[in-house]
Subunit: 354 residues, 4 copies
């Protein structure tokens, strides 16, 4: 079965499974007071070329909502793209963890917020009737499979800084972004003005590990208490830290991401040649959004290929997500099936059209 | 190094590590829509001899606070023992997840709430100035290493039912309790009147897996939304479910617990003979609270044995916790060292006394 | 000074001040256990021709957010117009009181939600990632100075009922709406499907009194606790109840509203004849939104007339709000000044245009 | 009817009613942007002999919980006496407004916290499992009718400062305290180390007005937003401010309080001579707690005197509260009735005893 539903439908990278096994030797002090956990922060500081304060957590939503909770007072506003995971897929977690902030969803082509759109949305400062502008959250790679360049991040950061907003980056697919941009992780985060990052590992070969990485380190002061209060402090923390260590070791995170991105690029190439296929967004990381003829979609689903229609059960836009371990042969199988269906449908369609 | 600090200082049981590895084959639908997760609920229903609704989560605190949040309105009171984990060790998680309930800590010898104490604390019903009695939470095994018998649970449940309170059980060490009581899991839970259970696995050989088990199933209706909102829905859920499956398979949970309990019993036996040792509570599961001569404590710590002084850095009460994989040789080593220290101290003391 | 900024810039109606004085005689049991408070619910039941459960509170925001908090679980969605007070003017109060719901702001011409817009926005039911559709809130009269007819309310209610949503009405200017519609209060509330109403008095002659009125009475069960927890239970409640009693007595609420509406109608009539004036919305109650020539706006403000530019400091749209005690002579003064300014400006403009 | 149930069973002082009427002239900008509101802060600064930042609110609970919410992070602990209003009479308002703090109720004779008791309760600093010590709240006058002297406040403040805790004072009966202590308001607040005060007016002649007074003014920065978010910003604010202005004018607050205190002193004097009467606490302000023979209690209640049994429906301890307008003749009537009942009961008792 070829499953392109999501990169979280995959298992765990072998390097990471082995690291979990290795971490199982002996006893270790709980709640992060083990050796491995201490090393994660150091390793992240090395990767980001600056001293960071970092905390492992178990889910991407936990990373996002805890991070936002230290950046945003209860009466604050968090600006994000209208398609952002924190807005549409976390069941109001940010609102809960902050004590009732408002999320302000912004439109923007290709899943990205434009600086002018953000600037125009910042209103009501100092007026008690209005929730107060506090935080911007960018998603990198975006929910549309596109990327913010370092310059684009910096342009948003400039608006944030001018308006005294904190800048968060939801990096559930941060590895795919860095791998595709070919820049240093620092360039697209703190050097561009990002204050804190939800650094994802789960979708890219981890089992259940993300790190909240603070570049503006004073934001981290109360994080440990909020993580505990939210039920997100793991007693056997070493098993989260082991995942993160292996993920960062020898650039596994980037190697995994490059593979996923390459598989997506191969899909794009194959679908470009497909009659009736129409890419919705440029494919810059490991997600494709593409309109396909209904007969092709239905035929692929019939043949056991798994992916989501995007926007509802009758939509002819589909999302295809590749992962660190996507088998190139599966991609070829998918493309061959799609082409065969399109060809067959083309004939029928032509016949019908006569 | 012999580490008796806590049962969460241990690693993961080999059966469970193997189950994690096995779960890693192929793709699986995320967020609990995988086969393994479906089986966990069925298996728990079998273990508890009744249809239950169950949800895997990653930490014991998550299990407790999410469970309490569906049982208790924001203006409610949760009654618990003054030493309960939900009161003293979860940084106000229950207060957060419920929107600001009050916990009412009750005194009680040996870590247990007496029915009369509970009954007397239920006041202010129907009076808007007072937070409203809503929920009772028992810990089984207790934080004092003791157990509620089925009859004791039923007596508390009777007070709860009479006063229309929900009854929660924090079973972080539920396996140790059931193994020691020798009763069926049903007898000490729903048959005795428990509505929902935080069913622990992590401390007893799991990596990061607990299940919230609802016997009063209508309480579970909103759980899935609250779990997501709290950031506790794991995308690669199968790896939590695999832990729980292996934990329940062939009574691993009870076998592990019996071992831990047996190690504790051996410790008790060995310490009974130690001059100056004084057990604080009867040892009914896998935790010992014992007063020891300062010289013995200091000597053990010097020799690399690890455990906690209980009640502060100068306390001469210590907590010793055994686990599923505690090596009997380590227990013997600990006892020999303790006896040697006591003997040496005894002589010195005697010498000084002359 | 003629102040048309808001109906809350006015003082208190003489009948209500007298009622406050009258209530001051003797002692009375606090927290609503006085005679007057008991009578308010009965009087509201009479006005609404059905048994209601009602609670006095001190502000409109308190009425709204407390009411929404009993209708909406923490993981819920509240649908409202994008201009609704609960969305743009209450600093996230609804999000706070509910434990973090999402407000879903809907577009709609003339300040009103169309049933189809609502229907299309109801998505994600049963999907834990998404906040769950729970409540609809209508504003009557709307923030645009328009009205929902009973049929329009019923059409929204039909969508709500079909989707098992509660229906709230923010009636900060409910009196103005009922006075203008000429219908019975019941027709535009419970008979049309409204479950609970924030019944405003403050803007229409009260000092600081609103009533939360439950038609679906089971929703009221926990209200008293939530009101206290929010700090909204007044010890000397009789002074709030006295306001509400006087407000309802001999139809004072409708008489006051009719006067305000008539003053608004006179303004409309006078401004229709003004060159360059352009009504933004039909004026159906006591609020006008009108575009005026900048010279007229600036001139009026210079001459001491007070009102708000709507949409920012350079907007040439203004809001004019009349009240229960607006002096007809003030309206004439305003219109004369506006016409004089327009005439003078017209000449200048014409001169310049040549 | 003589009502000694509470000082909030009274009406409003004539000076304050007149101020409300006077405030009703003309229009005024809403939400505190009126002249009167500006003057309240200045007047409070004068009264307290230092620049304060102050906010009117409508209830004592609102004052307390909003004030505590800017002093205490969600993961904080608030220390208070076990009988404190914030702990037992506000339905968990502090827990709600802070996002789930823990209140730590402390025992203490005569309604007061001893510095050593506080010091001993401050534990777990820096340990994420434990809610973090954040705030101390004193009640002045206490719930037991006693007072903290300036030295006693300073001793608590010293513990607070040493441990970096904020110090709040619940001054629902602050006027009674200052009147009885005979000190300056500054001496018992900021000069003694208090950071913020809930300055009560309602119980002492107001209708529905309290002020939150910040001495540590940086604590006030976010107050305006939190007040709005809580629904506690009054549109016609001038009517709250008018109450506070009149209350502070010509020392009305102190004159009112002196009367109430004198009436309490007269009660004490009269009850001292009553056989079987036993004062529970020294009476230092306007509340008496006294044990009386059951026959006296029952007889007084039968004769229409109103007051509360303290501690339950069969308690023979009663609370008697005097107020700004307690009629001395009512006190005499109460005492005469009590003495008559005691005498009659004494004879019967004696007769029976023979």
């Amino acid at each position: 079965m070829v499953n392109l539903c999501s990169d979280n439908a995959t298992g765990v990278a072998p390097e990471i499974i082995r690291a979990i096994e290795a971490a199982n030797a002996g006893t270790a002090m709980p709640y992060g007071n083990d050796d491995l956990t201490g090393q994660v922060e150091a390793k992240l500081s090395e990767v980001f070329e600056t001293e960071v304060t970092a905390f492992p957590v178990g889910t991407g939503t936990a990373a996002n909502v805890l991070c936002l909770s230290v950046m945003t007072p209860p009466f604050g506003v968090i600006y994000c793209h209208e398609g952002a995971h924190i807005h549409v897929d976390e069941c109001g977690g940010a609102e809960f963890y902050t004590g009732g902030v408002k999320l302000c969803p912004l439109p923007g082509s290709r899943g990205k917020i434009a600086p002018d759109t953000l600037r125009a949305a910042i209103t009501g400062v100092g007026e008690p009737h209005h929730a107060q502008p506090a935080t911007v959250s960018l998603t990198q790679a975006t929910e549309a499979g596109t990327l913010y360049t370092p310059d684009e991040v910096a342009a948003i950061a400039e608006v944030a800084r001018t308006n005294r907003l904190n800048l968060h980056m939801d990096g559930a697919r941060f590895a795919n972004a860095v791998a595709a941009l070919g820049c240093s992780p620092a360039d697209v985060t703190w050097r561009a003005g990002v204050d804190a990052l939800s650094f994802g590992a789960t979708k890219n070969g981890g089992m259940s590990a993300e790190a909240v990485v603070f570049f503006k380190r004073e934001l981290a002061e109360t994080f440990a208490y909020r993580r505990m209060k939210g039920g997100h402090l793991f007693s056997k923390m070493r098993f989260l830290s082991a995942q993160l260590q292996a993920y960062l070791q020898d650039d596994l995170w980037l190697r995994n991401a490059r593979h996923a991105n390459a598989m997506a690029a191969r899909l794009v190439e194959g679908l470009r040649a497909l009659p009736g296929a129409d890419l919705v967004n440029p494919v810059e990381a490991n997600e494709l959004f593409v309109r396909l003829p209904e007969a092709v979609i239905a035929g692929l689903l019939d043949r056991g290929f798994r992916f989501y229609r995007w926007g509802g059960p009758t939509s002819t836009e589909v999302r295809l997500v590749t992962a660190f371990n996507t088998d190139p042969a599966d991609i070829e199988r998918f493309l061959q099936a799609a082409h065969a269906l399109a060809a067959s449908h083309g004939k029928t369609g032509a016949a019908l059209a006569r």
